[in-house]
């Protein structure tokens, strides 16, 4: 469960049919998991009560946890037509890839996964990492150009910034301006 927000009910409802079970991932939920929103939306969708059930499992993305869970709950899952999943995109994909072995239910994601700023729960929404696997932070004064530049440029600013603000949003500071400013602090120009 990385950082997620719950989808609008109207987006989910047309996809739901028959008996519904909801599986909520309780893995890295300390990062940012909109628990109350999820419960509120699930309650709106799963109105009939008796036919429905909400379960939690930890680290849906973990193959071992998932295998064990599906093995122990195969009969249960088989009773439902729709499995709502409150998890990040990784959890949804992991579950959907395995659940076919035990149930023919349709898997529907309840959450939108956001980018992962401050993953590990330390500084959510402050520092962004796109998990691109090729870190340039050592060359860019520890400000990521992939996430701080609207064009994810690696070779310097695009020249579109006006008064230091991004061409796509005058309320957002140009990532490369930030990088240049901090680099100047590290390496002040020689007089």
């Amino acid at each position: 469960m990385l950082i997620t927000k719950v989808k609008p009910v109207d987006e989910i409802l047309p996809l739901v049919s028959g008996r519904v079970i909801a599986l909520c991932c309780e893995g890295c939920s300390e990062v940012h998991y909109p628990e109350k929103d999820v419960v509120a939306v699930l309650n709106k969708i799963m109105v009939s009560g008796t036919d429905n059930a909400i379960f939690e499992l930890v680290y849906m993305c973990s193959q071992e946890h998932l295998d064990l869970y599906l093995q122990n709950n195969a009969d249960l899952l088989n009773e439902f037509d729709t499995i709502l999943v409150a998890s990040c995109g990784v959890g949804v994909q992991a579950l959907c890839g395995k659940v076919r072995n035990v149930s023919s239910a349709t898997v529907i994601s309840v959450c939108d996964t956001l980018k992962v700023p401050g993953f590990q729960g330390l500084t959510p929404f402050k520092f962004d990492c796109a998990l691109c696997g090729e870190c340039h932070l050592n060359e860019t004064a520890a400000i990521c150009p992939i996430t701080s530049c609207a064009k994810s440029l690696l070779g310097g600013g695009c020249g579109g910034a006006k008064n230091g603000m991004c061409e796509t949003d005058s309320a957002v500071e140009c990532g490369w301006e930030r990088i240049y400013k901090r680099l100047a602090l590290y390496n002040p120009p020689t007089p």
Partner: protein, 290 residues
């Protein structure tokens, strides 16, 4: 004709610019180019400028070439990945379009299709590198080309009056190292700032073409000051345009302003790039003023 050859011959290189239409007829554009732009060395063709979807730059360049003009293909990284960009460079070379201006490109959100997905697989620097690699007989990933390698005059842009000149110089340096052979500048109205920029940029040893837009109204100038990066139009110029709106609208005032800026900056640059934005008919008159 390669613009780089003209620079080498010591020519003060003059280019202008046209924007393709939002449609598939080039009649008007070609007609205006014939009438008004025979006086320049080459004509830039914009690549869906300001992220507005239009007829392609490559097709328009080919039409201009067939009509006896020398086109400069503008190519941005906004809409194509490295496969398409390099393929378009090869296509241009096949047509004999060898002057190219390589840009990052405005973000898609600024144009008339704001929900389109921006690409930016490459940026201006890596696109210049790709063009340089093609010239040396392989693509950006090192795969060999067959037959003879293309030859380009590789242009790039820089904003001398940017509020962040250091960043501009940093990027200019990167562009030169990636193979840029000439620079066109964002429009200049403050010769002092231009000359000060050139004093720092001349060590790169690459020709710089002064960019100039022919202003049409005080409102246009105010809009550009507010919204266009790297543009700084002094108040006295705005007042000059506001003094006689009809004369300004005809382009007469704009030509006078441009001519003054060009005269002051000319000793410090190697060429001139006129962006008429619809006032192509004023280009011959502006050149007579020089």
């Amino acid at each position: 004709m390669l613009l780089t050859d003209l620079f080498k011959q010591g020519e003060f290189v003059i280019t202008s610019e046209v924007g393709p239409p939002k449609g598939c007829s080039l009649e008007t554009l070609l007609d205006r180019a014939d009438k008004y732009l025979r006086c320049v060395h080459a004509i830039n063709v914009t690549d869906c400028q300001a992220s507005v979807m239009k007829l392609g730059s490559l097709a328009t360049c080919k039409a201009l070439l067939d009509n006896g003009h020398t086109p400069v293909l503008q190519l941005t990284c906004r809409d194509r990945n490295r496969i398409a960009l390099q393929s378009d460079l090869l296509s241009a070379a096949y047509f004999g379009i060898n002057n190219v201006l390589l840009l990052t490109g405005d973000h898609t959100t600024l144009g008339d299709a704001p929900n389109s997905k921006p690409v930016y697989d490459l940026d201006s620097v890596s696109l210049l590198k790709a063009a340089s690699m093609l010239e040396s007989g392989s693509d950006l990933d090192g795969n060999k080309l067959t037959g003879s390698a293309p030859k380009f005059a590789k242009g790039a842009v820089v904003s001398p009056c940017s509020d962040s000149v250091n960043a501009q110089l940093h990027k200019m340096d990167a562009k030169v190292r990636a193979g840029a052979e000439f620079f066109q500048t964002q429009t200049v109205y403050d010769p002092e700032r231009f000359i000060s920029f050139i004093s720092r940029a001349k060590s790169f040893g690459v020709p710089v073409m002064l960019g100039i837009v022919i202003l049409k109204s005080a409102r246009m100038a105010e809009f550009m000051n507010k919204n266009i990066a790297g543009v700084s139009i002094p108040q006295f110029i705005i007042d000059e345009l506001a003094a006689d709106p009809e004369r300004a609208k005809s382009g007469e005032t704009g030509v006078e302003i441009a001519a003054r800026v060009i005269k002051e900056c000319r000793p410090y640059c190697q060429g001139l790039h006129i962006m008429p934005l619809g006032l192509e008919d004023k280009v011959p008159q502006l050149l007579e003023c020089l």
